[in-house]
Symmetry: C2
DNA sequence: TTGAAAGCGCTAACAA
DNA sequence: TTGTTAGCGCTTTCAA
């Protein structure tokens, strides 16, 4: 018993019900519903009235079946509560909309079974884009045949990918910190001590190339609280630190809190920089210097690539696009 | 020419192509693809191989047409770059997923034509939930017949609604500020001077009921930069202020930046509070005291209501659910 | 201006 | 275990 069925017991109204109610053929109903030419105004109104009366809604399945025109991209993010993903999602939704595609959203962090989650998504979408927490093999299994673009590809290889290489910008960051007078910078990385992240390595290399050996402290995870803890550990291990490069903006925010609470002035005593270019960095005081990536460009590249794969203009394997970070100097350095 | 069509010129493979390639009937293909019983293992493997070979993907339209089982909720937000919406979206996606529904996302802020945007969304979704920037009349036109739940309904009336009433919590906030010793609180509202927001009024009333007359300063918009500017204006007009209640957490972050830059200690000299309970409030120093809403509860209520409307268990008009704010004391007060 | 016929891709029900 | 029939709701021919 659906409220949408004004003909109890028979489910939602179909085009046939409307046709009967209005005393016309189904084609005439189609003409009326879709503002097509070749229908008398009076007829049209009668049909529309009948449709309204019956609470008729054209089935998107019926429509999709005949006119191959309803395309959707599946977007996989880890967790929208992490400020990184909304920025991506916002850009992806815009890019997709510009091209007439819809976006269905899947969030892996809160899902019991990621595998199933993404398998389901692949059934609803024509292409999949984003950050599935799946190995290449898993992705291949689940997505078999669905054009797939991984964002921030790293070491993955399956499908297409957007590569966000931070290397050049890291050099600019190193120059910037040194120019501002830093002599004892420390890296606040994430992960296990002794296993630096790609970003971390990149910073160490950039500094090393400039003749500065940088010690590393590792925060446990990429979270705010880890940033706080990590920065406190860092202050203890390196009390004379004069600049901190962090794994990302979130960790940087944590570090900023720790510094604030420790009474350390930023950037006066310690310069602090993040990575990602999150809008979040503008909400804190002082605003965060960061290595920013143009999310609009990332989304455009990802959606564009996925759609090209869908259209057969680009192979399902091997496509790569680089998007570079750039130094965004704000008040914290 | 699609990469997915291994039979050039004829579009993507269909179930019939697979059936022919494997030398079986379509029904057998269905059995193989859907892990249905009653099919010999060898046959199944042969079919699956053919499917893989042809890059066959079952059409979701064909499927949706026959098994009435693919439901999606359309979620309308203003702008995911505004930290409020991701929090809602995250919860809505989770709630929907728990019930086996998909979520398609529409963002009004960046859309040229909101009316069309939402009309399109309504065609892709079975129910619509969120914050469409449409009047009741517009919403009725565009959504005619689609179950619709507006979140934070305010003065709107069309469809179902979640009402987020801040009244009680505002009393708790007033008590809290007074207990902490504030004697000269000021309201940092948004909008035109002389036209206080509902929240603003609520705070003024709560304070008035406690014998304190609170002056108001208005920030132009609900943005971070407006918060900065508003707080600066406030400091000028009320140099002896000892507590600031802001319209929301974003404005509060702006105010916090202004106070920080003016060298005013928070909460030592001025206590500062926001509204909404955004996660953002935990990223700044000191963490923001706020009137929080449980977004999980809001999403559950909204999705639950929309689905009930869809199922005909609740009328399309008039359903209302209240979700209360609560005082969340953190470090800024 | 309207209607009839055909078919989009799939699965449920039944028959073999 | 497999195949056949029927039909989901819609739009695009084509004919009237």
């Amino acid at each position: 018993m659906s409220a949408r069925a004004d003909r109890p017991g028979s489910g939602p109204a179909t085009i046939i019900d409307v046709a009967e109610a209005a005393g016309v053929s189904r084609q005439t109903v189609t003409r009326a519903m879709n503002d097509m030419p070749g229908i008398k105004e009076a007829t049209k109104e009668r049909v529309l009235a009948a449709a309204k009366e019956l609470a008729y809604r054209p089935s998107r399945f019926g429509r999709g079946l005949v006119g191959h025109t309803q395309r959707t991209v599946g977007l996989v993010v880890d967790d929208l509560m992490n400020p990184y993903y909304p920025q991506l999602a916002s850009a992806v939704v815009s890019s997709a909309r510009d091209r007439g595609w819809n976006v269905v959203l899947a969030q892996t962090a809160k899902a019991a079974d990621q595998y199933t989650l993404i398998a389901d998504l692949a059934k609803q979408a024509d292409v999949v884009v984003g950050y599935p927490a799946l190995t290449d093999n898993q992705a291949q299994e689940v997505l078999a045949g669905v054009p797939f673009v991984r964002i921030d590809m790293g070491e993955y290889t399956y499908g297409g990918g957007i590569q966000m290489d931070v290397g050049d910008a890291m050099g600019a960051m190193a120059d910037h910190l040194l120019e501002r007078g830093s002599r004892r910078p420390v890296l606040l990385d994430v992960g296990l001590p002794g296993f630096p992240s790609a970003r971390g390595k990149s910073f160490l290399a950039a500094m090393s190339a400039r003749g500065v050996q940088v010690p590393t402290v590792s925060a446990a995870t990429k979270s705010l609280s880890s940033g706080v803890a990590g920065a406190n550990a860092l202050l203890e291990a390196h009390p004379d630190v004069d600049a901190i490069m962090t794994f990302n903006d979130i960790v940087a925010c944590g570090a900023l809190k720790a510094l604030h609470e420790a009474g350390v002035d930023v950037p006066g005593q310690v310069r602090l920089a993040g990575c990602d270019g999150l809008n979040l960095g503008r909400f804190v005081s002082p605003e965060l210097t960061t290595l920013a990536v143009d999310m609009g460009a990332v989304a455009e590249a990802a959606v564009g690539m996925a759609l090209a794969m869908y259209a057969g203009e680009v192979p399902l394997q091997g496509a790569r696009t680089q998007v570079a970070h750039h130094l965004l100097v704000r008040a914290s350095t």
